[in-house]
Symmetry: C2
Subunit: 236 residues, 2 copies
DNA sequence: ATGTGATTTGTACTATCGTACAAAAGATCA
DNA sequence: TGATCTTTTGTACGATAGTACAAATCACAT
């Protein structure tokens, strides 16, 4: 159990800043932003409340730093995987690879923290639900590029599906992804113990399989809800 | 001057209790539970803070009453629609009808309040994300029956798909449904204005179409992960 | 009109919030 | 070593939180 730490890990333990970030990330992700006090975070990190102010100035600043810490690596990993997925020959395999490129980093990537990816994604889900302003700004300017690239890749693979439909379906994917991380216990409960909802590998495979099928569903013309299904495809 | 309208059932003046409930519902659904103060609610309802205490005793009691108000009608409507959907002949149509039975009441049903269904469902999404204890208890004991009935209906229509997969996919459906109500603006933004994310009818149709396809995706054998269509990625 | 019970108001109490700031403690290097 | 900079601690302040409660007000049967 006792292991000689490498040079990179050595600086971690006494680093109070990192401990605060990790504690805040965990608490925000599970309880929301407003339910967690700066004192809660400091206590969980074994730090003094004043120390949080010193390192991050404000509570918003702390949240901002959490995003800054994760957004870069995660989107980098996504674009790498997406670039590779674009070259897959078989359509079905390519769709799955594209979805995987979007989903996998959300579960595993992030900073070098263990399980940081899933924790950060859950945090994003919660901030989104709470309508957090700090998060909203960062999300729009950081993730929209990635989302568009992902949508474009899907659209290229499924040119007969209107872009609007693909936007909706990718939106559903993100919602499903978020919800899987927010309440994994619900899956365990409803499956009567046959599955562990917090099993990341299982969640990823289920999500990829289901979403790849959803993207391939017949197109929907939404111009007029009362109108029946027609193969009209109008590009504006 | 003011005519007295006979019996006690008449809504003489806007019932303050209802106004408080509506205001709380709206504020909780958009900002979360902890971010909204009792004073905020009272002010939005044009009431006095003390009046909230009088009618609902505590802030938790207020949330509890919101749930009590909506859960019954919504689940009743769901079971009605589900019962009808089970009898649809064509498999594809039946799947869509079942999904619709789950989705439509979440958008439209609820109490007699205008647009109350979507608002309450959004509130549930936010409470779920925040890990609200009051909501968690009610959800588990009120919605699990409905969820099981829904899963059973899908499973009967798709007997070759393992129940576990259906649980996952219905979980994704709920996540997608929640997310559509939480951040409809994201759909508008990503579609570059081609679609209005807050258009309930469009959201429902997109959700039904995508989810019906997802349920029909090939089964996933996770008990014995020997066979895989795509090469397994050994890297995390 | 008057009494009565149901509501609404105004206010106050205590706890906790985010944040500020000075002093103490470490760390670094001449 | 002492000087200087960084980090941590302890404490305090004003704002606001949830809730309690007495007084004021209202609806309405008598």
């Amino acid at each position: 159990m006792v292991r000689k730490p490498t040079s990179r890990e050595t600086a971690r333990k006494p680093n109070m800043r990192e401990a605060i970030l990790a504690a805040a990330e965990e608490l925000f992700a599970t309880n929301g932003f407003n339910a967690v006090s700066v004192r809660d975070i400091a206590h969980a990190a074994g730090a003094n409340p004043g120390s949080v102010t010193y390192h991050f100035k404000t509570k918003d600043g702390l949240l901002l730093e959490i995003y800054r810490r994760h957004c870069g690596p995660m989107n980098l990993r996504r674009s790498e995987l997406l670039a590779a997925a674009r070259h897959v020959r078989d359509l079905q395999d390519r769709l799955e690879a594209i979805v995987r490129a979007y989903v996998v980093p959300a579960f595993t990537s992030g900073s070098d923290l263990a399980g940081g990816g899933a924790r950060f994604t859950r945090l994003r889900a919660v901030m989104s639900a709470e309508g957090n302003e700090v998060a909203r700004k960062i999300i729009a300017q950081t993730f929209d590029d990635t989302s568009h690239a992902f949508i474009d890749a899907i659209h290229e693979s499924l040119p007969h599906i209107p872009r609007t439909d693909i936007v909706w379906r990718s939106h559903f994917l993100l919602g499903a992804l978020y919800y899987s991380l927010v309440t994994p216990d619900r899956v365990s409960r409803l499956s009567r113990g046959e599955t562990d909802g917090s099993d990341a590998a299982a969640a990823i495979e289920q999500l990829v399989q289901a979403t790849a099928a959803a993207f391939q569903a017949p197109a929907l013309d939404q111009a007029a809800p009362a109108r029946r299904r027609t193969p009209a495809s109008s590009k504006t």
